[in-house]
């Protein structure tokens, strides 16, 4: 009798989901945000299809405001695994110079929400893997593993297909698409433990190091590209070197840094467990629209 551990069961479930989509969808893609959840999802895809490389491309819906370390890891991972990497920039957002300082929530909407829809339409992807987890946020707890979007990419929480046993109904009409979340049942701690157990490479920003930081609207941020910050903010931010790390990674001016000395994986996990602020708090996005912020964004097509 072999007793499977929780990580083994979660891994087996995720691999089953990944394979099911590849068997049933016509043109799947994996959304790759370069964060730790994406890293785990990509690792699981490598396991699911071994010895073949994952039979779909990676899609990065870029905002041009990500950390330099993220771009570096993104490019090196795609090359190492031998997967095609597609990078999408919303041209309209680029032309209008949409940025996180002047445009607030519009920045996320234009670059990410609209950019994602454009990319999916452009390539005709009918299934997109995303790294969202049910433990992240209240409305995510009710999301299905296979989440159906209309041809205009909207999500109707009242009209979702029941998911029984390990049977997923991937059938859809022309123009409709599915967002698939293979990590639905993982918790943040599971993700960290799996990264440790499997020795998965993640962006160095998760570990504490001396970095140039500045304060803005009450938060602590990293000056990843000082010249660009100066252009957009109209003045050079006041830089202080501090030992910081990041609990989640997004656009560098939207992702708050935390002061920390945790420089190894176990120290990071230790800090995560002892800390008393939940994961998404570092991100500004959930706070618009009160408690129902994420739910509203999803109905509009945000991942």
């Amino acid at each position: 009798m072999t007793l499977l551990t929780h990580l083994q069961r979660l891994e087996a479930e995720s691999i089953h989901i990944l394979r099911e989509v590849v068997a049933e969808a016509e043109n799947p893609v994996m959304l790759y945000s370069v964060g730790k959840d994406s890293a785990v999802m990509l690792h699981l895809a490598r396991k699911a299809f071994y010895p073949a490389p994952p039979p779909f491309p990676l899609l990065h819906v870029d905002t041009t405001w990500k950390f330099q370390d993220m771009y570096a890891l993104r490019d090196s991972m795609a090359e190492k695994i031998g997967m095609k990497l597609l990078v999408w920039h919303n041209e309209e957002a680029e032309e209008r110079g949409i940025n996180p300082f002047d445009h607030g929530p519009l920045h996320t909407d234009m670059w990410k929400t609209q950019g994602l829809k454009q990319a999916l339409d452009h390539y005709g992807f009918d299934a997109a893997f995303g790294g969202a987890r049910r433990d992240e946020e209240k409305s995510r707890a009710k999301e299905r593993v296979f989440s159906f979007r209309t041809s205009s990419h909207s999500w109707n929480p009242k009209d979702q297909r029941p998911e029984l046993w390990n049977l997923y109904n991937a059938r859809k009409n022309k123009g409709e698409s599915i967002r698939v979340f293979p990590l639905s049942n993982w918790t943040e701690l599971d993700i960290w433990q799996y990264i440790m157990a499997e020795n998965i490479e993640i962006v160095p920003l998760y570990f504490a190091a001396e970095r140039p930081t500045f304060e803005w609207e009450g938060g602590l941020f990293m000056a990843d590209d000082i010249d660009r910050l100066e252009r957009v903010m109209g003045k050079k931010p006041e830089i202080t070197m501090k030992s910081v790390r990041f609990r989640t990674l997004g656009c560098f001016p939207l992702t708050g840094a935390v002061e920390s000395t945790a420089s190894t994986l176990s120290e990071v996990v230790q800090e995560t467990l002892l800390t008393s602020t939940s994961e998404r708090q570092g991100r500004v996005i959930d706070k618009d629209a009160g408690g129902a912020g994420m739910e509203k964004k999803k109905q509009e097509g945000y991942f």
Binding site: M1, T2, L3, L4, T5, H6, L7, Q8, R9, L10, E11, A12, E13, I15, H16, R19, E20, V22, A23, A48, F49, Y50, P51, A52, R134, D135, K138, S139, A141, K142, P157, R161, P162, L164, W165, N166, L167, N169, R171, N173, S184, N185, T187, L189, D190, Q193, S266, V269, Q270, L273, L274, T275, S276, T277, S278, Q281, G291, A292, E295, K296
Partner: protein, 638 residues
């Protein structure tokens, strides 16, 4: 005596020795359970409590919880745990949970995934969904109210879905002064009912989700008379169903064939039951070919053994034909294949079941077309009585037989959830309309062989010097189907072709005289005509059929019966006003006056073909012109 329970005492270790802590965590098992209760049984409060006690709530969530408690809360000044788990905005306003939500928490020994499902009457479907993946069910009863109709319904569903571990959690004990008498009375009541439902054993626990009694440690000072385990103790110790599944024979539905190069051919799947090792003799079903496992290939190197629940890739010693939908199984004890079954069905769609219609059936990695017979009976989930039923509506449960268009590999649900549980999918809306559990096969499909005949289908056709076809005319009553079909047949006869015209009215006088005009009967009417047309086409004939055949699904069903390229759908496209103004048989008049029910175009829908092979417009063409146009489209005839 209250003992000090270690369920959540890990904080110290996290700070002192993180590596030791992680080491302990690494090897925890995972239990999935479901909580079922009526509205106000305190289900959300209990789950909120479990999350809260296991420190799965962070300070910022706690702060927003406190703010929310003040705004929406029902517990006065105290924290309303229920708000932690009631998710979507609309539900929060209504104050009830309406969907399945999954929550996560951890104790010293295990990780848990809780399916939180609603107790509201109309949401049987959500509970069945949550129960399908659960190892254990917690059935909540309000100590003040005792066993209710809904408690009975939940227990029945839990048993139906094959959950072996049941906890009867008598909640809100604080509101009945922790009375042993009350607890014992509820226990006695439930014991009788459990027997009736078929639940063999259950674990009763008196609790208070709100105050915390007997949740993490037992007995609570308030229930000195209770000598059983606390809820957490029990959850930490029950046996997992995935472990039990290892004892059964090996079965792995093949999900995907992995062929990265000519030297590697792997069969990927999640093991449904049993264990497998390199060298094991296996049989691929339904083909029945045997081989041996060559290796269990993984990213981390080849494995020496794999067990139920794992997702693996197997390579076999021989080049056997094996693809998605096949099952690789223990060589000495493979599962059967069949194409006729008796099953329990839970209907999950707003649109009721249509007996006779073809649905996609997905079981394991197999997808086939299934035709469901009218239910043998519906089960009243409150009284467990068997009721006569012609169909199943949303949230109703019944027993029905079904047939599949090709044999599927299966096991009874009571033996294997992986090879006995299935879903039905509507072919047009793609909605998941039902969940089902196979009870048994009505016959062994392998015993009913297709009689091999010497004169083949091709022989029949070449003797007649023609290619068989089914010219399927569809359109409203009075559109001109019969007239045009008759004209086409006349012209084909002049060309020395062997034909037969099946006409709606004529068939209804004989073969289908037992059928009426309800939706169900119309579907059966078309199915029989399709089968007759197929036999005639097998005999080499050009078959013409003239039936309203109003539903796309049924025309599709017939299309799938006939060899590819031989089914020609001809849409006789006559607008309703034109057909009605013709009214050759006076039927529209009767339908308008209400004398005739279920008349297509009036009070029963006509679903026009989206992409017919041929379309004729009878407003601009005479019947003769239409017939000539059709012949021109189907040339050459050989």
């Amino acid at each position: 005596m209250e003992k000090n329970h270690p369920a959540y005492e890990t904080d110290a270790l996290i700070a002192e020795d993180i590596d030791a802590y992680l080491e302990g965590h690494q090897n925890k098992s995972l239990l999935r359970f479901i909580t079922c209760g009526s509205v106000d049984d305190g289900k959300s409060t209990l789950i909120g409590r479990l999350l809260y006690d296991s420190k799965m709530i962070f300070e910022d969530q706690l702060a927003s919880l406190e703010a929310d408690s003040a705004r929406h809360g029902t517990q006065g000044e105290e924290i309303d745990f229920a708000l932690l788990v009631d998710g979507l905005a609309a539900e929060r306003e209504q104050g009830i949970t309406i969907d399945v939500a999954y929550r996560f928490f951890t104790t010293e020994k295990r990780k848990f995934i809780v399916a939180d499902t609603p107790g509201h009457e109309q949401y049987t479907r959500n509970m069945v969904t949550g129960a399908s993946t659960a190892d254990l069910a917690v059935i909540l009863v309000d100590a003040r109210k005792g066993v209710l109709q809904q408690t009975r319904r939940h227990s029945f569903l839990v048993h139906l879905l094959g959950i072996k571990h049941v906890v009867l959690a008598v909640n809100k004990m604080d509101l009945v002064d922790y009375s042993q008498e009350t607890f014992d009375a509820i226990l006695a009541d439930y014991t009788d009912f459990a027997k009736e439902v078929g639940i063999e054993a259950f674990t009763p626990i008196p609790i208070s989700g709100f105050k915390g009694d007997n949740i993490t440690s037992s007995p609570s000072a308030n229930t000195p008379w209770y000598d059983g385990p606390s809820l957490i103790d029990h959850l930490e110790s029950v046996e997992l169903s995935s472990t039990v599944a290892q004892e059964a024979s090996f079965r792995m539905p093949v999900q995907w064939v992995n062929r990265p190069n000519l030297d590697f051919r792997g069969f990927a799947g999640q093991i449904a039951s049993g264990t497998v090792k390199p060298g094991d003799t296996v049989r691929v079903v339904p083909s029945g070919k045997t081989s041996a496992v060559k290796c269990i290939a993984t990213f981390d190197g080849d494995l020496s053994e794999a067990v139920a629940g794992q997702s693996v890739t197997l390579t076999l010693a021989d080049e056997v034909d094996c693809s998605r939908g096949d099952v690789i199984a223990a060589g000495d004890n493979p599962p059967e294949a069949s194409d006729q079954f008796s099953s329990t069905l839970v209907w999950m769609d707003e649109t009721a079941m249509k007996p006779g219609r073809g649905y996609w059936l997905k079981i394991g990695s197999q997808t086939v077309t299934a035709t469901v017979q009218p239910p043998k009976y519906e089960i009243d989930v409150n009284s467990l009585d068997h009721l006569a039923a012609k169909t199943l509506e949303l949230n109703s449960i019944g027993v029905a037989e079904f047939a599949t268009d090709k044999p599927i590999v299966f096991e009874p649900y009571s033996q294997s959830k992986g090879l006995g549980g299935f879903i039905l999918i509507d072919k047009f809306t793609n909605a998941t309309v039902a969940a089902g559990m196979i009870e048994f096969s009505l016959r062994r499909a392998q015993n009913v062989h297709w009689q091999a005949t010497t004169i083949t289908r091709d022989d029949h056709a070449s003797l007649k010097n023609q290619k068989p076809r089914v010219l399927w005319f569809t359109g409203l009553s009075g559109s001109g189907k019969s007239t045009i079909a008759n004209e086409v047949e006349k012209q084909l006869a002049l060309m020395n072709r062997h034909t037969f015209l099946l006409d709606g009215d004529n068939v209804r006088h004989g073969l289908n005289k037992d059928l009426g005009f309800t939706e169900t009967d119309r579907i059966e009417n078309i199915r029989r005509i399709g089968e007759v047309a197929r036999l005639m086409a097998d005999a080499g004939l050009i078959v013409l059929t003239a039936f309203i055949s109003p539903f796309r699904a049924e025309r599709q069903m017939v299309r799938e019966m006939i060899p590819e390229g031989e089914f020609i759908e001809i849409f006789v496209d006559t607008p309703l006003e034109v057909a009605e103004s013709r009214d050759v048989k006076g039927l529209y008049k009767k339908a308008r006056s209400g004398e005739l029910q279920n008349f297509t175009g009036i009070d029963s829908p006509y679903e026009a073909p989206e992409d017919p092979e041929i379309r004729v417009n009878t407003v601009d063409m005479t019947p003769l012109e239409a017939a000539e146009y059709i012949i021109a489209q189907i040339l050459p005839l050989k």
